[in-house]
Symmetry: C2
Subunit: 215 residues, 2 copies
């Protein structure tokens, strides 16, 4: 059963590397774009600025991607992969149920703690940036977030299904509250520049889990 759950999650969250489609340069550019976008956003990031940071010419960057939009889409894709690798993948070795849920939440809090000094989370920085106008980049960002929502929900459901939480727990409601706390840690820590939001989020997560029947 724990095996089955892990397999389902692996499918949902499988890394999307397309072998052969990327050169070393492409990977270096996208990685740099990902880091810069977490600070300055994905739209404000200019091709010239990115190229200069990498010691290459602007048209060299354009030649590898075709357009800024294509570069942005590649950047969202790699940001999603990094998130999966750093936050989700490590907890799939933990037994499904409350243990895995706690591990996932702590993994996210630690991820966001590590991001604090380096300038913030990619998805936090870019989500509101594209919120207004419809675009393919916006769709890609929303799809990545929806995927994360689904993973969290599934792990919550499994904890309930296994009997680790009260059987009448509303999984979507619980997942929503936990997500609100994770995001608050991320945004508040960046805003205030302290570790206090992460501490408060950890406390609140435990309170919410306990009121859902967790020991």
């Amino acid at each position: 059963m724990a095996r089955g759950g892990a397999i389902v999650l692996s499918m949902v969250m499988s890394l999307r590397n397309q072998p052969g489609a990327s050169s070393p340069s492409r990977a270096a550019i996208v990685d740099r774009a990902r880091r810069l976008a977490a600070v300055e956003g994905l739209d404000g990031l200019s091709l010239a600025r990115l190229a200069h940071d990498l010691g290459m010419s602007k048209s060299g960057v354009v030649a590898l991607f075709g357009s800024k939009e294509a570069l942005q889409l590649a950047t969202v894709s790699i940001a999603r992969d990094v998130f999966v690798e750093e936050v989700v993948a490590p907890v799939l070795s933990v037994a499904g149920g409350l243990d895995r849920l706690r591990a996932l939440l702590e993994s996210h809090v630690r991820y966001s703690e590590a991001r604090r000094e380096s300038g913030g989370c990619f998805f936090a920085a870019t989500s509101s940036e594209f919120a207004g106008r419809p675009s393919s980049v916006r769709d890609a960002i929303l799809a990545a977030r929806a995927e994360w929502d689904a993973v969290l929900l599934r792990i919550v459901e499994r904890a309930i299904g296994k009997g680790d939480l009260d059987p009448d727990t509303d999984a979507e409601q619980l997942a929503y509250q936990l997500r609100a706390l994770l995001e608050a840690a991320s945004t508040d820590a960046l805003r205030l520049g302290t570790a206090e939001p992460h501490r408060r989020t950890r406390i609140a997560i435990e309170a919410v889990l306990r009121s859902a029947g967790a020991p």
Copy 2:
């Protein structure tokens, strides 16, 4: 006592209108900028775009403000005033304590519900935009948010002080959790395009208040 609390809050949250300092044009420009910034951000908004929307020339806008930065600062200021007027001011007539706290939270949820169709909340759209680089605009946004944090905290403290919540409640922790839920409603509703986040935030707020001893 309820009177005293209202006076303190009124001081903290007094409207900052400087009479005489604004012409009708200035007010119209800033109001338009505020609405546009809630959708496209405050930095991406260009002077030419703003001027065109208002049917005037770009240099006309610049002449009234001196620089884009000054316009941005004026816009943050008016956005803060609108927030105070729409969210905080109405609840000051409610008796201090749990009633006022509930009224404030409901006021914020309704405010964010109303913003959903018109393209989002000004502070949600602009906070992450300036998070990276230090600037006077960033400082102004952070100051407005800190002010809101302080008001929420004060109203929570008052509910505890009045005995409406458990006396050993951690006011900062409770305020933090409530704020996380308010912000989740705002961002999720814009992202998903449904009213569900507001419904979930209302449910979660009541759960959090009850676990702090609210009837």
